[in-house]
């Protein structure tokens, strides 16, 4: 079974090296592809220097959705069986990789999302962020009937069928929630596994307070549209 870890990175020179070493340390059997989304810092060079990952440089910044999709295109064309999405900022702990990958390996689901809230973990987040995530949990439950405790989590593993789907279509910005709804709508099985997440090692979250209002509206609209769209 061939596994690929997809790491989208935008200006993450401070954390990308450690993340790559950590993934390789815990899972030397997995291939890693870093999709550098037009970073203006040394992200690409740092990633290359480790010698642990394939590095794909997008010539301009296309946004998280387009960057992640590049990883899925790579996974699809190189025939990987499982693709794992992992953030470059050190939030996702590679020592937890098996928790989400095992669900896919055992064939229990087509997509497994690493959740901060499925079980009690030491992870702390602000009240407003927690409320925002809760809102999407309810919204997804409303439109699909499925309860996903951490739909905004970008720490997830998918199988071959989902790799092919995502290579063809992947939401453009703030894609995590919409992708889950799309999978549910298409009849794929989405599961969650409890993972521990860290607070960011370096860099800033892409979601500033100004953007969060847009985020809520855009994602809600996308979820509702995915519900009424003819997906099959």
């Amino acid at each position: 079974m061939r596994l690929l870890v997809i790491i989208p990175a935008y200006n993450e020179e401070k954390s990308i090296g450690d993340v790559l070493r950590s993934v390789h340390h815990h899972h030397p059997e997995m291939d890693i592809v870093v999709v550098n989304d037009g970073s203006r810092d040394q992200t690409s060079a740092v990633a290359r220097t480790t010698g642990l990952a394939h590095v794909i440089d997008l010539p301009v910044n296309v946004g998280i959705g387009g960057a992640v999709q590049t990883g899925y295109l790579y996974a699809h064309r190189h025939g990987y069986d499982v693709a794992i999405q992992l953030d470059a900022d050190g939030q996702h702990d590679p020592s937890n990789l098996d928790k989400i990958v095992d669900v896919i390996r055992r064939g229990e689901a087509d997509c497994c999302v690493g959740s901060r809230f499925l079980e009690k973990t030491p992870y702390k987040s602000s009240l407003s962020r927690r409320a925002g995530i809760q809102f999407f949990t309810y919204l997804i439950q409303l439109v699909t009937g499925k309860r996903i405790t951490d739909p905004t989590s970008g720490f997830r593993a998918v199988n071959r069928q989902v790799i092919r789907l995502f290579a063809e279509y992947y939401p453009d910005d703030y894609p995590e929630v919409e992708a889950v709804v799309l999978l549910e709508r298409k009849g794929y099985r989405v599961k969650e596994a409890s993972v521990l997440m860290h607070n960011r090692a370096a860099g800033k979250s892409s979601i500033t307070p100004i953007k969060s209002l847009y985020y809520m509206f855009k994602v809600s609209l996308a979820v509702l549209m995915t519900r009424i769209r003819n997906v099959s």
């Binding site: 291939d31 440089d57 296309v62 999709q69 295109l73 064309r77």
Partner: protein, 122 residues
């Protein structure tokens, strides 16, 4: 020069500019059709001003010139909507192009400089 003549001249000028833009390939035919349509419509109403009153009466519009505003606004909305669709499509195409280019460059680089990750053998 009265206002009717001015309106006709303006419409002809508008149509002329549109045709010239298509001729110089500054505007693709598929996007120009709606502009030509608008130009012709305006020309018809300029040449036959009484037509405006009759159509307005037919639609129970009591102040005929407001029908002109309605036409102008409708066309503007349709054109802007169309442009938004075009921008969305272009955006998708450009993203895919960037992705393909990046994948190709990465593949090329690894083949030529053997820039592969050290732990991989194949």
């Amino acid at each position: 020069m009265n206002i009717y003549l001015l309106a006709v001249v303006f419409c002809l000028l508008f149509l002329g500019i549109t045709v010239e833009l298509i001729r110089r390939q500054k505007m693709a035919e598929r996007y120009a059709i709606i502009w030509l349509l608008l130009g012709v419509l305006m020309l018809v109403f300029s040449v036959f001003p009484s037509l405006l009153d009759r159509v307005s009466a037919l639609l129970h519009i009591y102040y005929a010139p407001s029908f002109l505003f309605f036409i102008g606004l409708t066309f503007s909305m349709v054109i802007i909507l169309h442009l938004t669709i075009v921008v969305t499509r272009l955006n998708r195409q450009v993203t895919r192009l960037i992705q393909e280019l990046a994948l190709l460059k990465a593949q090329n680089k690894e083949e030529t400089s053997d820039d592969r990750p050290a732990h991989r053998t194949g």
